[in-house]
Structure formats: structure tokens, C-alpha cells
Amino acid sequence: MVPESYYTALSAVLFSIGVVGVVIRRNPLVIFMSIELMLNAANLALVAFGHRFGNLDGQALVLFVMAVAAAEVAVGLAIIVAIFRVRRRLSVDDLSLMRW
């Protein structure tokens, strides 16, 4: 049996990697994927906690996170594609304006 703390430690590592990814990359798609990575790290922690405390609330929360992530990805990708259509290039540094 693997102690839950292992899972939460892994979750912390993945979350930190996700944070670093968000900061160091310029491609909005990769930043977006790093965010997904962070969400997953959180999910892993939730499931581990749920396992630890012997109830299913953690898993239910994970389901909600997944649903929200799906919605977020759909909207986010649509925005990125729309921006790309206008700008013909992809870099978050170009996206400091609220309007274009």
C-alpha cells in the first residue's frame, strides 16, 4: 500500500512544474497545457485526500474540475484560434492589449 503522502508529494511536484511552465513559456497553447497540468496535480491531491479520509467527496470534486476544465479548454482554444486568425502569430507577449 502506498501512503497518500506520496501522492500529494507527486501532486506538489507536478503543480510546481505546471507553474514554472506557465511562466517560462511564450506559446499560449503550451501555457494552457501547463494550466491543465496544474489542474491535474490538484485532482491527484483531491483523489489522494479522498482515499485518505475514506469518502468520495474528493472524486466528486475531481469530476467537477474535469467538467470545468473541458469548458475552459473549449473557450480558451477558441480564443487562441481567433487571436491567431487576426495576428498570424502566437506569443503571449503580443497579447497585452484587451482589444485588438
Binding site: 503522502s5 512544474i17 511552465g21 497553447l29 479520509f53 477558441a78 480564443i79 481567433a82
Partner: protein
């Protein structure tokens, strides 16, 4: 046995996460993320959350990441992040900050979950469903509204010349 499997999966997950943020090529990054999601799904399985594992693969790997790969293919990137980076110094700052965050999180986790595990709950799909439709009914319905809103928003965004 289970411990060895965990370490293999953890290494796979960490490695693929690093691959995601370090690979220049966005397609490779996306595929690394798929590997990461898959290994986490197996971890769910080890935690007894079979339904979540399947949902993870279907929703994340099967749908969300396909969308990502699709978007990357449509946009054919690969040329971005090639020029000189005007904010290199800021970005390099991320590494020590990330390490600090890791230490912080590690400290918190290590403090709270040192105790050995109690018996895990049965992750059976029926029980999970029952929970969703009783205790979490309101959030569940709100999620459906959120998905609907997202769908409408995407449709609006995707219309050309809007």
C-alpha cells in the same frame, strides 16, 4: 510491488510534465501531457478510483487533448518562441520561484499527511453517482449551465468575421 509501480508512474508523470514545459515543439508537448494524464489515470486506478480513471482518459486524453492537438495542427506553430526573448530575465526567475513553491507545498503536505493510510473508500461508480445527485446536485446542475455557456461562447467565437 504497488510501491514500485507508484514510483515508476511518478517518474513517468514528472518526466512527461518536464517534457511538456521544456520541449520547443508544441505537438511534442501536447503528447507529453497525454502521457502525463495517462499515468495519472493509472494512479487513480491505484487509488481505487476506477470510474475517475476511465473518465480521466476519456475526457482529458480522449477529448481535451485531442482538441489541443487539433488546435496546434490547425495553427501549425513551431515558428513561435524562436526569436530572442525580450523577457528572458523575468522568465528565468520562474525557476527559483517554482522551487520555492515546491518547498512550500512540500512542507505543508509533509506536515499534514505523515500518518499511515486508513482503509480506502470503495470507488465504485454507483456510489459516486449517488453522491453527485444528492449532495452535489446543485453544483452538478450549475456545471451543466457552465458547459452550456461555454458551448454558446465557443460558437460565437468560432464564427468568422464576428
Amino acid at each position: 510491488m504497488a510501491r514500485a509501480a507508484f514510483f515508476v508512474l511518478a517518474a513517468l508523470a514528472t518526466g512527461s510534465a518536464l517534457g511538456l514545459i521544456l520541449k520547443k515543439n508544441a505537438i511534442h508537448g501536447a503528447l507529453f501531457l497525454v502521457v502525463n494524464l495517462g499515468s495519472i489515470a493509472v494512479l487513480y486506478l491505484m487509488l481505487g478510483a476506477e470510474f475517475l480513471a476511465a473518465a480521466q482518459v476519456i475526457v482529458y486524453a480522449g477529448a481535451i487533448m485531442v482538441l489541443f492537438v487539433f488546435a496546434i495542427m490547425v495553427l501549425i506553430p513551431g515558428k513561435e518562441e524562436t526569436g530572442p526573448d525580450p523577457r528572458r530575465a523575468y522568465r528565468l526567475l520562474a525557476l527559483p520561484l517554482g522551487a520555492a513553491l515546491l518547498l512550500l507545498l512540500g512542507g505543508v503536505v509533509a506536515g499534514r499527511l505523515g500518518a499511515p493510510a486508513a482503509a480506502g473508500a470503495a470507488g465504485d461508480a454507483g456510489a459516486l453517482g449517488r453522491l453527485l445527485f444528492t449532495r452535489y446536485l446543485f453544483p452538478f446542475e450549475v456545471t451543466s449551465v457552465l458547459l452550456l455557456a461555454a458551448m454558446v461562447g465557443v460558437l460565437l467565437l468560432a464564427r468568422r468575421g464576428a
